[in-house]
């Protein structure tokens, strides 16, 4: 279980005292894959505005294009039509200054230690060793992995690997953190703990977070806003606000408000199945 590495909240210092958050604007974005026989519409006319500092969860069944949309925000895939801008400027290629990405499998480099993995994006741009190390230390402390820097990924539990991955996403202090089903491979308990941890990190840093999942509970539990998508063609079918108070607690999961929100999302998903 990854939770045993948790640090008491008091020990955590945010990366920077002034939170830096980003605004994302997705305007009528479409994506068409051409195959030899036909054109497949993966995304159709998706528009979405994410205000700075918000925690937005995109949820939907597989094939609804939620990951594709996220990859466009990350600059890892180009849309066929429409625009994606972050802080006013279009995203045409990966821009680690504006966006950090956390993937489903932690995708840490197995030959590097946790620390070196977190330093990796800094090393790519030739940041000096001492500065790199200091920033990596800060980021690891932020995710509650102080003292685990010298370990290799195979010596870390699934939850801890995802913490390293989050630290790597945050180490350059980008205004936006994109997360592609980051907890999908974790067991239920670790997943709950990691959700709380993520919310704590989000609160401490004030980033804009876009989080993709197919778990309805996770979506409602984490989000300020939930975007529901539906497949064939991939499109947005709902965009709802989550009026639950923060910090979120385990008790809310069995509350009426929580249930109503989850039901509403479920009805969309059932319809598209």
């Amino acid at each position: 279980m990854g939770g045993n590495a948790m640090q008491p909240l008091a020990n955590i210092t945010p990366l920077k005292s002034v939170p830096r958050a980003g605004a994302i604007e997705v305007r009528s974005v479409g994506q068409v894959f051409k195959t030899s026989t036909q054109d497949v519409v993966a995304l159709s006319e998706v528009s979405l505005e994410v205000k700075p500092g918000r925690f937005v969860v995109i949820v939907g069944p597989s094939g609804c294009g939620k990951s594709t949309l996220l990859m466009m925000m990350a600059g890892l895939r180009q849309q066929t039509s429409g625009t994606v801008t972050i802080n006013g400027a279009p995203i045409l290629k990966p821009d680690p200054d504006r966006v950090g990405v956390v993937f489903q499998e932690a995708s840490l480099f197995p030959w590097l230690t946790a620390e070196e993995n977190v330093e990796f994006p800094l090393a790519l741009r030739g940041v000096a060793k001492s500065e790199r190390r200091a920033k990596a230390q800060d980021a690891l402390r932020l995710v509650g992995l102080d003292g685990f820097g010298k370990r290799h990924p195979h010596e870390l539990s699934g939850g801890m690997k995802q913490r390293v991955s989050i630290a790597r996403g945050l180490v350059q202090d980008p205004p936006v953190l994109l997360m592609d089903e980051p907890f999908a491979a974790l067991d239920e308990q670790t997943r709950m703990t990691m959700g709380d941890e993520l919310l704590r990190i989000w609160a401490a840093t004030g980033k804009t977070v876009v989080f993709v999942t197919h778990s309805l509970t996770e979506a409602v539990y984490l989000a300020d806003e939930v975007v529901v998508m539906s497949p064939r063609p991939g499109r947005m079918v709902d965009h709802l606000q989550v009026p639950l108070a923060r910090p979120r607690t385990y008790e809310m999961l069995s509350g009426d408000a929580f249930g109503r929100l989850r039901d509403r999302i479920w009805r969309h998903i059932k319809k598209s199945a």
């Binding site: 840490l108 197995p110 990924p153």
Partner: protein, 266 residues
């Protein structure tokens, strides 16, 4: 008794039998000379064996350099370009079925019976596994790692140096282990077939005069060479053990390469 202890016992038993059976006459000394007489006859002709070993080792070293260089280069190209890979890989693995030893007479006609023909033959012998596993190593790199690197703004050359090469190292190493073993076999076999120097030549020459202890001394020397080479590569592999354990793709690839009987060490 632990498996390990029993295994040691078996090995020791075999060594003792090697000494006792020929001595007692249960096996004619012509078929199998006792261990002590083998070692002794090797020791008596130490200078000759040393000279032969030097010849063989130099041929092995040069062939290994060719086999590895060519194998890694060609494997990297084929592994990273999907079109040539789909086209060529099945053809290359069909080539695996051909007993390459039939090429050696061709090389002796082309290059004479000196070291050149042996180097050419052994290099080709070791080339295939090195190439195949390098290609597999590159091909099985976890695409998530490359995507992650790209999301952090890595350029093509940074991806090559910082992701592709380190990720491919374990599979390339196992290819080198198999390739190196085959290079040793290739050199020794070609020396045994037609040659005028090297350990293989010594083995063959002593065989024709039915001097079995000297034949076995040569056999032991080749065995020692193969074992030493294997141990050296294993040592390097252990030092890079961390590479292996990481991604699922890498683990799967490493398992496939080591498990697949890519090693016609005839």
């Amino acid at each position: 008794m632990t498996a390990r202890a029993l295994r040691r016992l078996i090995v020791m038993g075999l060594i003792v039998l090697w000494e006792v059976l020929p001595r007692s006459g249960a096996i004619p000394e012509l078929f199998l000379p006792s261990l002590s007489s083998t070692l002794l006859s090797g020791w008596n002709e130490a200078a000759e064996y040393r000279q032969a070993l030097a010849v063989t080792l130099s041929e092995v070293a040069i062939s290994f350099a060719f086999a590895c260089g060519g194998g890694i280069l060609f494997g990297a190209v084929v592994g990273s370009l999907p079109r040539p890979r789909i086209l060529i890989m099945p053809m290359i693995s069909s080539l695996y079925a051909v007993p390459l030893v039939i090429l050696y007479p061709v090389f002796t006609v082309w290059f004479g019976i000196g070291p050149e023909s042996k180097i050419a033959f052994a290099a080709i012998y070791g080339f295939l596994p090195t190439m195949l596993s390098t290609a597999a190593g590159i091909q099985t790199i976890d695409p998530q790692l490359l995507l992650a690197a790209r999301s952090m703004g890595a350029t093509l050359s940074q991806r090559l140096v910082r992701v592709i090469i380190p990720a491919a190292i374990p599979t390339v190493l196992s290819g080198l282990r198999v390739g190196g073993a085959l290079v040793i076999v290739g050199v020794v076999v070609s020396e045994m077939l037609i040659s005028s120097a090297g350990i293989g030549y010594l083995i063959s020459r002593y065989r024709t005069i039915l001097d079995t202890p000297h034949v076995f001394a040569g056999v032991l020397l080749v065995l020692a060479m193969a074992v030493a080479f294997n141990a050296a590569i294993k040592w390097i592999e252990r030092r890079c053990a961390i590479w292996r354990t990481g991604t699922q793709g890498g683990q799967r690839a490493a398992r496939e390469i080591t498990a697949s009987p890519l090693q016609p060490a005839t």
